[in-house]
């Protein structure tokens, strides 16, 4: 599951920033990708769609790396498992 989540987060991020997914790793710092606040809003919106989760505002402020997002998503999915995680679609994918 960990790999699936990471791959999907990276794919979403790549789609939002219009960059190749292979340029992004778990250690990539969002600042290095030139992510600004508007990109963050869009990214969170797409992640919420992709994983069928709701990301609290307070969780957002501590995000620095791609891994922070992956860990956060996993935590939220564990707290409220989606109805059909395998079949969830990402409009950004």
């Amino acid at each position: 599951m960990a790999d699936e989540v990471a791959a999907k987060v990276i794919a979403t991020l790549a789609s939002v920033k219009r960059i190749p997914a292979d340029k992004i790793t778990l250690d990539t710092n969002l600042q290095e990708l030139g992510i600004d606040s508007l990109d963050v809003f869009s990214l969170l919106f797409e992640l919420e769609n992709a994983f069928k989760i709701s990301i609290p505002d307070d969780d957002v402020r501590s995000i620095r790396t791609v891994n922070d997002i992956v860990e956060g998503v996993k935590k939220l999915m564990a707290a409220a498992p989606p109805e059909s995680s395998a079949g969830s679609t990402s409009p950004a994918a």
């Binding site: 600004d36 606040s37 809003f41 709701s54 609290p56 505002d57 307070d58 957002v60």
Partner: protein, 408 residues
């Protein structure tokens, strides 16, 4: 013609703090917040990360408009008209045909008749009625507030609406001030109004991630965002000499207006833009920084705004910044977007008139990044000579008004 001094001689205000001037001023000086659980939102059907707002309560449109006519006017424009009527009545002016033609109306609104268009589109997309109400367009248009004031009060001079998001009302009042100052109008009705508590707007603001899940705590370390508000405030501006000549009660003077654009980012503020707007307002007013005693801050309570505004104030005022009394009254009336500047102008003018500086309510813990005097929680009795009122909008558009106290 040399620039004329401009007096404020009438005020009308509707906000979550009350439906008239007295109720609003009582709440502001008592540090009483009107932020409360949202009404009219079905939380069983709608998930929302915040549940509080600064809604106007007990406003009965049928008391203010002919039977049935209230349906032709969106709530935001209803606020405009009722506040304008109250302001004109408060001013004691009697209008001659000549003065009606020389009267300007300049209103601010960020989103206009949002509920009208949302109901219309629900009919179209959700209930499949295949048509929308014929008055959807004239109810939705942002200038509806200004137009209804014009028709209602029979004022026929320059009339328009300014829409610059959260700075709308300050931009509007600044334009009206200049029309009267420069002799292009002999009377102005000006302010702002907003009514945006619709499901679509709430969800759109939620997605922006700037709304606090509890309350609005401007400049506090534990602030978590803004609280949406609604309402309307209008004031009457006239040349000071004319106001004196008719023996009008004068609340104070509006004396400076500064505008700037950050030219930087849609939602992230920077220090330079707001600082330039404050400097320009001071310059137009002919005021030295040391003459300012109070600033009604933009103070949204978001993590982003408050430290940047603090730094901008320090950049403009230097060492005098530590002597300034500053408050964000959004802690009490919420952020009414296009009406915010007008509601805050009323707070600023009454602070100058009465020598009572309204506090920043809900203040808890000091933030090292916000290191000025924010009048925490309790109003302060202090007579000040002049004040600024800041508004900084999404889109990086800044508008600052300067006011001076007037004591006969």
């Amino acid at each position: 013609m040399p620039p004329r001094r401009v007096a404020i001689t009438g005020i009308g205000i509707i906000s979550c703090l009350g439906l008239n001037l007295e109720e609003n001023w009582n709440a502001l000086r008592e540090g009483r917040s009107g932020i409360a659980p949202l009404q009219g939102v079905d939380f069983h059907k709608l998930t929302l990360r915040f549940q509080n707002g600064a809604q106007v309560r007990n406003f009965d449109a049928t008391k203010h408009f002919e039977p049935g006519k209230e349906d032709y006017i969106d709530r935001f424009a209803q606020f405009s008209v009722v506040a304008a009527r109250d302001a004109l009545r408060d001013s004691g002016l009697s209008l001659t045909p000549e003065l009606r033609e020389r009267s300007a109306i300049v209103c601010g609104s960020a989103v206009g008749g949002q509920s009208a268009i949302e109901v219309g589109f629900e009919d179209l997309y959700v209930t499949d009625r295949g048509r929308v109400h014929p008055l959807t367009i004239p109810k939705t248009m942002s200038n509806a507030g200004a137009s209804h004031i014009s028709m209602d009060l029979k004022l026929s001079g320059p009339t328009y609406t300014v829409s610059t998001a959260c700075s709308s009302a300050n931009h509007a009042m600044g334009q009206a001030f200049r029309l009267v100052r420069d002799g292009d109008a002999d009377l102005a009705v000006t302010g702002g109004s907003e009514a945006m508590f619709t499901i679509g707007m709430l969800k759109a603001w939620e997605a922006m991630r700037v709304i606090s899940p509890d309350t609005c705590r401007p400049f506090s370390k534990d602030r978590r965002g803004m609280i949406l508000g609604e309402g309307g405030a209008m004031m009457i501006l006239e040349p000071l000499d004319a106001a004196r000549a008719r023996g009008a009660r004068i609340y104070g003077e509006i004396c400076g207006f500064g505008m700037s654009s950050d030219a930087n980012h849609l939602t992230q503020p920077i220090v330079e833009g707001p600082a330039r707007a404050m400097r320009d307002a001071l310059r137009m007013a002919g005021l030295a920084p040391e003459q300012i005693g109070y600033i009604n801050a933009h103070g949204t309570g978001t993590p982003g705004n408050d430290p940047v505004e603090t730094r901008a104030i320090r950049a403009v005022f230097g060492t005098h910044a530590d002597k300034l009394a500053i408050s964000s009254t959004k802690s009490m009336h919420g952020h009414a977007l296009g009406a915010a500047g007008a509601i805050e102008a009323v707070a600023t003018i009454l602070a100058l008139r009465d020598g009572i500086l309204p506090p920043t309510a809900n203040f808890t813990v000091a933030d090292p990044e916000c290191d000025l005097d924010y009048i925490p929680n309790k109003a302060r009795t202090q007579q000040v000579e002049a004040a600024l009122s800041n508004s900084f909008a999404f889109g990086g558009l800044n508008a600052v008004l300067a006011f001076r106290s007037y004591h006969g």
